[in-house]
């Protein structure tokens, strides 16, 4: 039976004109495309669980912090006109911000390592790399440097508070990571303020 019907189909196909075949192919195309899209054709996928959204938000915030420090480091770059022209406080401020920047990069790496994205998921958007030639020029004078460090300290305190506020509902190990990063960011506040004082 099966062989017979298959043979009949072949026959039918053989009898169709070229025009009819092309028309049928065009009509079937959207169906094939829909089939390839899979679940998206049936509806939007469910939103990620709350803890995943919290982690994604923390990753975005840490990415913003890393970018903020990259920008600040350009502003704090000691004067380049002479190797001896930069004063100690300029170098100290730049070194302090650089050390804290490195810790934020480490925070970001740990946070990203905890996010398991399903295969085929759209990768998270990362901020574009900052080219050394772009961006603002170094700040001049103590007041400009203090302003940059002061803004960083305010951002650090806010980030620390936000992480502690987000602990509810997180798995234990992720809550510990959030708390540790929040603690680290709080230490940056004092550290930056001390750098601003030219310690």
């Amino acid at each position: 039976m099966a062989d017979g019907s298959a043979a009949a189909d072949c026959v039918m196909t053989a009898r169709l004109s070229r025009r009819a075949l092309l028309t049928a192919s065009a009509a079937a195309l959207p169906l094939f495309v829909t089939g390839c899209k899979g679940i998206q054709a049936l509806g939007t996928p469910p939103p990620p669980p709350a803890d995943v959204r919290t982690l994604q938000a923390a990753i975005s915030a840490e990415e913003a912090m890393v970018a903020r420090y990259a920008s600040a480091l350009r502003l704090l770059t000691p004067a380049q006109s002479s190797p001896y022209s930069a004063v100690g406080s300029e170098i100290a401020a730049y070194a302090s911000a650089g050390a804290v920047h490195a810790e934020h990069v480490a925070h970001l790496a740990q946070l990203r390592s905890r996010l398991v994205e399903p295969p085929g998921a759209k990768p998270a958007a990362h901020p574009p790399p900052l080219s050394p030639s772009s961006g603002p020029s170094p700040v001049a004078g103590t007041s400009g440097r203090d302003a940059v460090l002061g803004e960083l300290a305010v951002a650090e305190q806010a980030a620390s508070d936000r992480l502690i506020g987000d602990l509810d509902g997180l798995p234990s190990s992720l809550a510990q990571l959030f708390a540790s990063i929040a603690a680290s960011e709080a230490t940056h506040v004092e550290f930056l303020q001390a750098a601003g004082r030219g310690r």
Binding site: A182, A183, S184
Partner: protein, 157 residues
Amino acid sequence: MTSASGQAGQATGSQQTITALQNALAAEQAASYGYGVVGARLPQGSAAQGTAGADWVTHMRARDELTAMISARGGQPAPAAVAYQLPGPVKTAADATALAALLEDRVAQAYLEIVALPESGLRNFGARQVRAAAVRAAAWRGSTQAFPGLPASSLRS
């Protein structure tokens, strides 16, 4: 009404809470003892000695708070040891400063156990104590750490 398994779960959770609080209490008791040594080795009347005195009071208050929290949950707070083994000789101001930073690191690590508990209030309390200990440790050390209180083994490469 709760099922037998539910009661067992509550008991386990409660025991986990008591254990985490006891570990934090032990760290605070050790810190209270250790700051006595720290203060004795710092220059008399110096700002650093003043800071050590303030931190010592902070740890004694935290010790009392944890004692009350354990009692309120039906636990028996463990008493402090008569004396503690120091990690090394503390003969100079630099030794004392290093000891203070180490005490704070251990306190931060102990409070992270409380952060791992599911209870919202305790988790928040633990996180704020980790933060306070990390800030004190950074002040003593003169530098910051990326992951205060977290053992390196818990970090992913």
